[in-house]
Amino acid sequence: MSYIARRLMRAILLLLGVSALCFLFTEMAPGSFFDEMRLNPQISPATIAALRSRYGLDQPLVVRYERWIKAALHADLGHSIAYNTPVAPLLWSRAKNTLLLSTTALFLTWLISVPLGLWTGARPGGQVDRLVTLVSSLLISVPELVIAMALLAIAVRWHFLRVGGMMSADFGDLSAWEKLSDLLLHLALPVFILVLCETAVIVRHVRASVLEVLQARYVQAALGYGTSRTRLLVRHVLPVAANPAISLLGFSLAGLLSGSLMVEVVCGWPGLGPLILEATLARDLYLVIGGIMFSALFMVGGNLVADAMLFALDPRIRGEGNGADGH
């Protein structure tokens, strides 16, 4: 169990590091939310000073950080200045949508990537392989923003899917079934964009690790025993090739979350992305920090899930009880 414990430890250290980094950046910031208020002659300097102390901005960095950490342990991430509400519930209401979008995209990406990677890795140089390699290298080199805008333009121009927001204006009047289909139609475009961008990356990695495993001696031996090709791939190659692919899951989450932020803004999906963008433009300090912490939390959570999967699937990690070289 020490493997999981160590991973958990690392996750906590990572979250601490991220929050410390955020506070360091706030210290370096030359401006603040109250700068614009200061220009307003109707607000007295005393009011601003009172507000500053209410949000704890008059304290030195270390004191502020300590307070924030203590509060964060009780799921309190501070107070939004622009919305004048606690940050955590605000973020959570949006984070649910981001989670819906990115987990759907993640699930579909892997559903497509693994069989495709297995197929192309098993027949390198074949027609499917060459096609997949060409398309994926094209998709990788085209920036996600451009892919998103192009697909959005197509969807809007020819009225393919529903764009803008998460539900239609008459959502309240619809029956349960229509509600579901409306939601899915809104979800389809952002998910499609994300899946397209992510699959291009993941397929290549799965293919590479399948190619590598196919070279192994035991695969040759299994072939020699006359194991059928399908059984060889599914029973002997896939479990071993899955190891690096699962480690990749953790890393691919970072890309997925960044991509989802951008896609949310472009498609108007009411997730964390637009909220953080607004907060950034309004210089709403704690909301931005909270947003970054949420994204870091997703990352860490995803990584832990990947670690647990590795632990469950890979007997080598379980046997050693140490996963230092797990990937």
Partner: protein
Amino acid sequence: MGIKTSILLAALAFSHLILLFAGFFAPCDPTTQDRELPYAPPTHLRFRDASGFHLRPFVYAWTSSSAGEQSDDYQENYREDRSREFPLQFCVRGASYKVLGVFKTDVHLFGTTEPGKLSLLGTDSYGRDEFSRLLFGGQISVAAGIAATAIALLVGSIFGLIAGYYGGWTDESLMGVTELFLSLPWLYFLLGVRAFLPLHLSTVRTFFLLTGVIGLIGWARPARLVRGLVLSLRHRNYVLSARGFGGSDFYIVRRHILPEIAGVLLTQASLLIPRYIAAEVTLSFFGLGVNEPAPTWGNMLSTLQQYSVLVSYGWLLAPAAALVVTSVLYSSLADAIHRG
């Protein structure tokens, strides 16, 4: 160097030269507005008129329909005024600009005489020439990508060298920090850092700020790469013997280690530049980058956040196309270098 690499390098050099001398290649000033011509479609270069074929192409001016019959779709509001032809001319005098920011001149490669207007890629919402803005905007976007890459590679290879060369706790603590940077979704991180910096600044200061922020977030990946290389190079026989002869750390790094990692840094550069150009474009698209009226590919695209604009005025997608071309060129170059 293979033939493919040479071709790609030539194409990149050519496109970058055009961007560098944008003032010369662009027929108009990028910030001059024309309230009479918002969202005017691209001007057609024509060779044929009532009197037959002309070798020198010419353009017609756009006339907008009278106020009474204006429709919401701008595109239908413009008709070519066939009464007068404006021939295309080379090396014409037009708006003044500075070459490389130093010499002042007003000679443009091509253009046409007033009141004719040559807008190869149409105009934007303020009637500014999209083609000229594309070239001037490319200057900022591409330069930002290159500068951010330089920062990331410099910082990354310094930390990577230190971590790989000295090993031990230095290595462990530095790699802990890179893990921190690598495990964060970069766009969230970028937005976060940007949130703590002033929003409205002069173009030059924003430019430096953007490149600094992008570069400082991106240093972790090259640092890891360099560290891994140095770690294996450190135990090579020639390094050990150089040390045996009393070579200092600095000498060994400069003479034996840097030349070995230079190739990898080059590949990294051609991988990172398009990514960082895209980062600048994304930030400016969000309104966090270089502000109007200075053009960048990102803030030119940001008008397309309105669905009606996105669908109606296809020519405003030109910066996206330019971005795609640049990215594909750079990543093919990385691929070509990587394969040798």
